[in-house]
């Protein structure tokens, strides 16, 4: 079985449009198991209920931003090793540096083409 058949991904974004765009792209890559959450806390809840291999998260979200989510994931033994792709509209050095420190696996700047998303994912998990 190809990786794309087995990979489990959680998409986190407060904007349903962005969630739709990302899940639509993932769908087109043939990735079967994609869940989505509209904020960090519910993402953590979903991951606890049903673990994933990769989290694709927006940076700028109300309440808990993408880096806080990453921090929470890295703090818990159970989710410490999950792949994390940060999507950000502003690729500020500060954000990237912090992401690096926290163990972000990759980042992708908005707007992006599906191909860009695919490449960013493959850089983390390997060929889909």
């Amino acid at each position: 079985m190809a990786l794309r058949d087995q990979l489990r991904i959680l998409v986190v974004d407060d904007m349903s449009t962005s969630r739709g765009l990302i899940t639509n792209a993932l769908d087109s890559f043939g990735i079967r198991t994609v869940a989505s959450a509209s904020d960090g806390p519910s993402a953590l809840q979903k991951i606890a209920a049903s673990p994933v291999h990769l989290v694709i998260s927006d940076y700028n979200m109300p309440g808990m931003d993408g880096l806080h989510l990453l921090h929470a994931l890295r703090s818990a033994p159970a989710t410490r090793g999950v792949g994390f792709l940060l999507i950000t509209g502003r690729a500020d050095r500060e954000i990237i540096e912090k992401g690096k420190q926290l163990g972000m696996n990759n980042f992708l700047k908005k707007p992006f083409e599906p191909a860009g998303l695919r490449a960013a994912i493959e850089a983390i998990v390997g060929r889909l």
Binding site: M1, L3, Q6, L7, M15, T17, G20, L21, N24, D27, T33, D39, G40, P41, L44, Q45, A48, A49, P51, H53, L54, N60, P62, G63, M64, L67, H68, H71, A72, R74, S75, A76, P77, A78, T79, R80, G81, V82, G89, R90, A91, D92, R93, I96, K98, K100, Q101, L102, G103, M104, N105, N106, K110, P111, F112, A120, A123, I124, V125, G126
Partner: protein
């Protein structure tokens, strides 16, 4: 819509409207002086999100503008620019233009430079606009090694992650420790862990609780203890399941679980010990105070700066050193506020588990996925009973779950429910006619059916209702633009914006309301100089309020201007030949001249109001919604226009009456009371003019049959039944009918599509027996009648 991208695009524009709304809200809060960082962030995020979405759809003009706006808001967010009132005005203008661009993009109409250039210029003058060059930040993606070998059965329920090289929870490997960023040579891992936790947590206690089997045998329940603890403060609970054996080795009467708890509280240790009083001796309990109050109460989010220095998990390392562990040991965070703290104590688990637990530690290999039951209880124990209140605090950032539905589908449902109501009425009638006893199964069943139909109808109507806020927000822009055009300082106040109104009503109110607001700013409010001269505050105020009042929506548009200049209005009306020069008009009558067609004409075209639309058009659009409009004005104090609208356009509570052999429906909310006339009640004033004496006052008497042209007026109305009708402005009239038949909810079927507006008639309906009945517009009827010159040929013959 089969193309997913088209669907996402459509939902993007809907989402934009929501973002624009919160943008307006945020700016309004900033304007009201609430410039806290969260407010500014809301504004920033709204613009940012619109930009992000627009980028994905290649809406470059929109992206470009949003980017400039976003950059300006970023200046505000970072504190480099502190906006004053003038600046916020420009931000408002930007928000308006952003909305225009969003709609233009949605409708695929061209975006012209002149739409954006003026505000961009102001924005640039305000905050400067050196286009920041985005530096390339170096980043090497870090791959993770996924062992997918065992993933074949992932679909199978438990949701556990694949091939787990489980690091023993109680014996962290050196690798893991260094990944945790513990300083080299720190004495023991657990101490470091403790300090770490203390630094992050604040005042309270770290509790470790290991129940012995005797605790359970004596009927104690850890959950209740945790609940009691929770009452003392902020409690984070973590269940240690590492001692759980594989399912087949599980002994039912042995306790395998222990708990690490972090209680943030001001209470003394004795209070915490008291909680465990009854289980004293039945458990191993350690309670240690957390002394370091590094953080204040803002526990919701861990400060990134503190831990980031301590837990850098080098991306490259993550694959080798931190394989995915079982998630089962993790108590799922139960509320947003708790999610983050729930993650923190994890790191004290290894130490906490090692120190006080005397119990044997199973070999790592034996640590299986915990069965669901204990996790459930752990999860439950982290669920604070005050969760709702916390969530209420977080409410602004936690939108309610919604479904977007095509309005057409809702309307089809509304229509079907309408048919259902009619059908149900017919069925009831048949049952009555069949002479079935009231206690028969059919009758009682039908009774329940009636109740259900009503409930369904109400629920369906609620789907169509939405807060009037969106409409009020649009009026904010009208006020800003109108006041700028006539150079007046005007502030808009809104009240009752959460009042829910039928969607169609909201849409169709936009034009009349816009016109009224422009009028208020242009004509209602005096010039600034005049205001100052008359001792009023410089700023003019326009107030929009919405409220539910006795089954109707009442929307008031008030200004604190000079009031209606009645002599001038009268003069103009005479000039235009609308009233005769000899006419003696009351104040109220003069005010109502404003609604006459032809009153406002091109002669008074101003920059604003003169757009060829007069108040007569406003009045007729309100009427077409089944609404009424009234004016009250006080000289020197201001003017209020009051619009009263039905809650829904689909159903109506009505009184079914008979007049001259015809069945008619009178809206119940117009009827103040019903009475039977006696000789003493009636006073004749002229050949066709009667009044009813009612509790010391006189009310004009109208023969409904005669008014509608069904019959000629009668000589005597003694013994007649009248409906006392009340109008918004306090005017009343008594309508004579032959009989009152029933009181029921009727489904409104509009006539306008087929017949245009018929004076005195609001709509039609289908009654239970299938008969069609007209629904009266009593107010209109009364104002028609008070003119007494109406063209009788307009009267409808019975439509059924």
């Amino acid at each position: 819509m089969s193309d997913p991208m088209a669907e996402i695009r459509a939902s993007f524009f809907i989402e934009c409207e929501e973002l624009l709304e919160s943008l307006q809200d945020g700016l309004q809060m900033m304007d009201d002086g609430e410039s806290d960082s969260e407010t500014i962030n809301i504004v920033f995020r709204a613009v940012h999100s619109i930009k992000g979405g627009a980028g994905a759809f290649g809406l470059n003009d929109l992206v470009h503008f949003a980017h400039r706006f976003e950059t300006a808001m970023d200046e505000v967010r970072t504190g480099r620019f502190v906006p004053d009132g003038e600046a916020i005005k420009i931000f408002f203008a930007c928000a308006d233009v952003l909305g225009d661009l969003v709609r233009a993009s949605r409708d695929e109409t061209p975006i012209l430079d002149e739409m954006t250039a003026p505000v961009l210029d102001s924005l640039e003058r305000l905050v400067g606009m050196e286009e920041e060059v985005e530096e390339e930040v170096e980043f090497v993606p870090a791959g993770i090694a996924l062992d997918l070998g065992g993933l074949g059965d992932l679909g199978g329920g438990m949701g556990d992650l694949p091939p787990l090289d489980l690091p023993a929870l109680d014996m962290p490997s050196p690798d893991l420790l260094s990944a945790d960023g513990l300083p080299e040579g720190s004495e023991t891992p657990d101490v470091a862990g403790d300090n770490d936790a203390q630094a992050a947590l604040g005042k309270g206690f770290k509790i470790h609780f290991l129940p012995e089997p005797a605790l359970f045998i004596s009927g104690n329940e850890p959950l209740y203890l945790f609940r009691a603890l929770r009452d003392l403060g902020d409690l984070t609970v973590r269940c240690d399941t590492s001692r759980l054996p594989a399912a087949e080795a599980l002994a039912a009467e042995t306790g395998y679980l222990s708990w690490s708890l972090v209680l943030l509280t001001e209470e003394p240790e004795t209070a915490v010990r008291d909680v465990f009083e009854f289980v004293d001796g039945l458990c191993v309990l350690t309670i240690e105070p957390i002394t370091n109050a590094a953080l204040d109460g803002s526990m919701a989010l861990p400060d990134l700066d503190v831990p980031s220095a301590q837990i850098p998990l080098a991306p490259g390392d993550s694959a080798e050193t931190a394989p995915v562990e079982t998630i089962a040991a993790e108590a799922p965070p139960s509320s947003p506020a708790q999610a983050a703290p729930a993650a923190l104590p994890d790191r004290l688990a290894p130490g906490a588990a090692a120190a006080p637990i005397p119990a044997p530690i199973p070999a790592p290999a034996a640590a299986p996925v915990a069965p669901p039951a204990p996790i459930e209880s752990a999860a439950e124990s982290t669920e604070p009973s005050d969760a709702p209140s916390r969530e209420a605090k977080n409410a602004p950032t936690q939108p309610r779950a919604t479904v977007r539905v095509d309005l057409e589908r809702v309307d089809r449902l509304v229509n079907l429910v309408g048919e259902l109501v009619i059908n149900q009425a017919m069925l009831s009638q048949s049952v009555t006619e069949a002479g079935l006893p009231a206690n028969s199964a059919v009758s009682t069943g039908l009774e329940e059916f009636l109740q259900l139909t009503r409930d369904i109808q109400e629920s369906v109507m609620m789907i169509r209702a939405q807060p009037i806020k969106s409409l009020f927000q649009r009026m904010g822009r009208i006020v800003r633009e109108a006041s700028a055009a006539v150079n007046k300082d005007v502030r808009l106040h809104t009240d009752g914006e959460n009042t829910e109104v039928d969607k169609t009503v909201i849409e169709r109110l936009a034009d009349p309301l816009t016109h009224m607001i422009r009028n208020a700013v242009d004509h209602g409010l005096e010039t600034t100089e005049k205001r100052v001269a008359s001792g009023k505050p410089r700023n003019g105020h326009v107030t929009l309020t919405a409220q539910h009042r006795s089954g109707r929506i009442v929307i008031d548009v008030s200004d604190d201007g000079g009031g209606i200049n009645r002599p001038r209005v009268l003069e103009k009306a005479i000039e235009k030949g609308l009233v005769s020069p000899e006419a003696q008009l009351s104040d109220g009558e003069i005010d109502n001249l404003l609604f006459l067609p032809g009153f406002s004409t091109a002669a008074e075209v101003s920059a604003l109001s003169g757009r060829g639309v007069g108040m007569d058009v406003v009045k007729s659009s309100i009427q077409s919604l089944g609404g009424r409009i009234a004016i009250t004005s006080v000289e020197g104090k201001g003017t209020t226009f009051s619009i009263s609208l039905p809650l829904t356009l689909a159903v109506l509570d009505g009184m079914v009456v008979r007049v001259a052999g015809e069945t008619l429906v009178v809206p119940l909310n117009a009827i103040l009371e019903t009475l039977t006339l006696t000789d003493d009640d009636i006073k004749q004033l002229g050949p066709e003019t009667h009044v009813v004496q009612l509790r010391g006052g006189f009310v004009p008497l109208l023969d409904l049959g005669a008014e509608l042209g069904y019959r000629t007026p009668e000589q005597s109305y003694v013994g007649g039944i009248v409906l006392l009708i009340g109008q918004e402005d306090g005017h009343r009239a008594a309508l004579v009918v032959d009989a009152i038949e029933d009181q029921r909810q009727v489904v409104i079927k509009g006539l306008e599509g087929s017949y245009g507006r018929v004076p005195g008639i609001a709509a039609a309906t289908i009654l239970g027996d299938g008969q069609i009945a007209l629904i009266l517009d009593p107010m209109d009827l009364i104002s028609q009648a008070s003119g007494r010159t109406k063209d009788r040929s307009l009267s409808l013959s019975h439509a059924g």
